[in-house]
Symmetry: C2
Subunit: 339 residues, 2 copies
């Protein structure tokens, strides 16, 4: 069945499409009486504006693309949920693009979003250098871009990140207070933005607090459970092992906890575990996990708000860089080191 358009309304009312458009969009130049009639007729016919046609003319689509690595990661689903809340209020739709850590997908999705004339893109970029020009092109072409979680190169655009370096530094500092002198870590993707920053903070703290940290105690390579589990097994099977271990995202934390369980290591008596990110399971597993959490709702809200500002604001303003702090949630996986 054909959709009703303003032409139909105009014809029914014996007026012109221009007038109908003006009336429906709340522009002046239409008498109150006629305007009312137009609204009534629109409702009666079940008129819904055609966003494509409107978008063509106004070059505004009320659509925002969101590039993330994996929607199944609670970190991302929480951030997105929070973005969705602010965008929904302004009648925007979100296009979710799972790019994994795959630059090819990132590229294809960006082009798809451009072809759909999205008003803006909120992205946690893979960080691959070869897609940097793509992002720059977006900015040049007037598609607003807000980066979150990770930033790349010298892209002149808004961004919302967490001070990852400080986060792991604080985590180590906290462990230090519990008397830990031997420390290990499970990291994620070394050369990713978050991965490297978190490692940096870790090593810095290790140095500052004069802890012992052997190469064999620091392993990783991927932000996933399986890899982290294996790395944790390796680290913890050593005869001489750390008294505390720090994981660098939610999946790695999960891997560590699984390894610990399998090796029947008592946490926190024999080993303290510091997690990263928060997840439901950390509240119910035994022991519950002490962890550095990122303020996912603030991240999402801020990113969405920045994008809306950029999209709806008339004037061009300087790129903003919002840096948020991670915070420590104290639960039961960290304890004093055994004498």
């Amino acid at each position: 069945m054909k959709r009703v358009n303003i032409k139909d309304i105009a014809k029914e009312l014996g007026t012109s499409i221009a007038t109908v458009s003006r009336a429906l969009n709340g522009k002046e130049g239409v008498s109150d009486e006629l305007r009312k009639k137009i609204f009534e007729k629109a409702k009666e016919l079940g008129y819904i504006a055609n966003g494509l046609a409107r978008g063509m003319k106004t070059s505004k689509t009320f659509t925002v693309g969101v590039l993330i690595s994996d929607i199944r990661n609670p970190y991302f689903s929480e951030v997105i949920s929070s973005m969705e809340r602010v965008l929904y209020a302004k009648n925007y739709n979100l296009m979710i693009c799972n790019v994994g850590e795959n630059p090819e997908r990132e590229k294809k999705y960006i082009n798809l979003l451009v072809s759909k004339n999205v008003d803006g893109i909120i992205a946690a970029p893979t960080g691959d250098e070869k897609n940097l020009p793509l992002y720059k092109k977006l900015v040049r072409h007037g598609i607003k871009v807000v980066l979150f979680d990770r930033i790349i190169g010298d892209l002149q655009t808004d961004s919302v990140i967490v001070d990852n370096e400080a986060a792991t530094y604080e985590a180590v500092k906290y462990l230090n207070r519990f008397g830990h002198r031997r420390i290990g870590a499970i990291y994620g993707i070394e050369k990713s933005y978050t991965g490297s920053e978190r490692l940096k903070g870790f090593f810095e703290a290790v140095k500052d607090f004069k802890m012992e940290c052997k190469d064999e105690w620091v392993k990783g390579g991927e932000f996933n459970e399986e890899k982290s589990y294996k790395c944790a097994l390796e680290i913890l099977s050593q005869k001489y092992r750390p008294t505390a271990i720090i994981a660098m995202n939610n999946f790695t934390t999960l891997g560590v906890m699984r390894a610990v369980k399998e090796l029947k290591i008592n946490v926190p008596d024999e080993l303290s575990v510091m997690g990263f990110d928060d997840a439901e399971w950390m509240k119910v597993c035994s022991p519950t996990v002490t962890t550095m959490v990122q303020p996912t709702d603030v991240i999402g809200m801020t990113a969405a708000t920045l994008l809306l500002d950029a999209v709806e604001g008339e004037l061009v303003r300087k790129p903003q860089k919002v840096v948020l702090k991670a915070s420590l949630i104290k639960r039961n996986s960290v304890g004093f080191v055994e004498k």
Copy 2:
């Protein structure tokens, strides 16, 4: 900066836009030589087709709306991730719409999706009667609809669901094998499709296996952790209480586990817990949770495939109803009842 369009390409090459369009879309009637030149020029100028204009003409947008209650629910994020995988392969985008259990949001989002001329909608409907006409209108207007997780009324459209009744029936049956004769339950939204089906299967099994089930042992009302936690506390604080309890989705399961932990009830020795849905935490908490899981990836894949079939298929076919089975994952929260 202005986007390059086919007119620009045509002008540069001294040909007509019709020819450029034909060449780029792989239609015949363009000499190989000219076609090659057109492709080269398009690449050189960085041409990306304008989806709005294309959509106007072809009334195809390569966009699919997805209505769910909450992206933070791992059940939904897994299903969506799986949908995304199949839709991405065919160059479709997903518009995620978090509707909570709110019919108003559902209505607004559906209208938004219509205005954006999505090719189809995959929805887990709230089930509110007053939005049924909206869904019917979609179908009438040629927007393909695939329902999943829940179905509503007499809507003539494809659907993918799990046999929820059988799922809880099987769960109780399993508990019966462990000698449980007194059983309780934490349910979700009674009048929701999934909620009522699961309850139905539960009561049926309770009757069939001649179990004892007091009214005070069956509580619920919302599919969330807090409410379920409170209900579980109430049930388990009673002097005469069930030896097994069954939760009816992932959040309710989490609530039960928290209550159990707080009451220092030993699971499975003092109480067996049967969960529903799967989640990371169920694998790491103590004890790990035995649970009825829905095949999220199959659900997502099937729903997306059905939608693609409907959207891309020429001929109209009968609405399909795919019913999948939940399966039991045996872990450690269910044990033999104490003598």
